[in-house]
Symmetry: C2
Subunit: 202 residues, 2 copies
């Protein structure tokens, strides 16, 4: 089936949102943990976390400052730190619920039953139920004028991972810890491994 | 298990690369089709394609200009167009093979057996075997000085998708067309659907 640019533009707005959100393929499911300077905690599911580089270890995410995760963005700018917590199949429904429009003084932790955890004096909250999570120090944000979003770039600090995921070459087996993937806006999936492939040579 | 920043920095370089590449979660698997002004085609697997917005329909990807997909980046800058083709389980091995260091006048299409397809006079090649693919017009690139990568931003033009994926609300069922996800550098996965969840409300 062929959808021209004009046909896409003519789709009903929510239909177009679902359609375009499906095009990029599988997305990661992560919960971003923050708190403001008064200690109010915030938790937001984000499907736009992306690997930026390993040397130094950097991670990015796209945020819409005027949409639901705006408190997350504000807390990151205010405190300079956040946590990234992979979502697993035991908590994906609670993780999805964090996308509801809670007020800034309502904690998504309390609202969903996800538990805060504080590790090694890092001032942003982790999600206790997550099996792979890490502390992140804010580096910079790049404003994408083309549509008003922000690319938030952070440096990976301390990593906490269930031992069952760790393999001898550094690879982490995300299936072993039931990490989920997202498609579109609202579909959650676990994974079936096909294979690991060797480094490609001519 | 706890990996401090210092412990991560002390990992052997390839171990650290595998480890850090695993942290962002599931990644999309896409082939980027381009050609230069002389008509030499190029195809590169990229795991960093990311949804940027639906209104207008924008897609981003992170490229390292000095790594394997540099010909792709050069062709995009030169011609202003490219295609994004989702990888499915029938072609993931050929897709992975495009990451080998072919010269600019060697086409990864010829080397891997993936077939070029030209649709509606768009001058960049699609992958015939892909079941969800779209034409993209280059909008801009943002240089990320923090590690020398580029965020390449494009506008989604024409979309081609197998009818079996399309659902009535615009959502595309990527499992129905066997789209694969990537973890780390080299692990490929199909998906098991858990559920689609309703729009979250307080």
């Amino acid at each position: 089936m062929h959808f021209s640019k004009d046909r896409i533009a003519a789709l009903e707005k929510h239909t177009r949102t679902h359609f375009i959100n499906s095009l990029s393929g599988f997305k990661s499911a992560n919960l971003i943990g923050t708190q403001d300077l008064q200690g109010n905690t915030n938790l937001a599911i984000v499907s736009s976390v992306i690997h930026l580089g390993a040397h130094p270890p950097l991670v990015g995410m796209i945020m819409r400052p005027h949409s639901v995760p705006r408190h997350t963005f504000e807390n990151i700018i205010e405190t300079g730190i956040y946590t990234i917590n992979q979502v697993n199949s035991d908590i994906y429904q609670q993780a999805h619920q964090t996308s509801a429009r809670y007020a800034k003084d309502e904690s998504e932790f309390d609202a969903t039953g996800l538990k805060t955890e504080y590790l090694n004096d890092f001032k942003a909250p982790f999600v206790a139920q997550s099996r792979l999570k890490y502390a992140v120090k804010f580096v910079e944000n790049q404003h994408l004028a083309v549509n008003g979003t922000e690319l938030v770039i952070g440096e990976i600090m301390d990593v906490y991972v269930d031992e069952s995921a760790l393999q001898s070459d550094g690879f982490l087996d995300l299936q072993a810890i039931d990490t989920v993937a997202v498609t579109g806006l609202d579909s959650y999936h676990t994974a079936n491994k096909l294979n690991r492939l060797p480094y490609a040579k001519k």
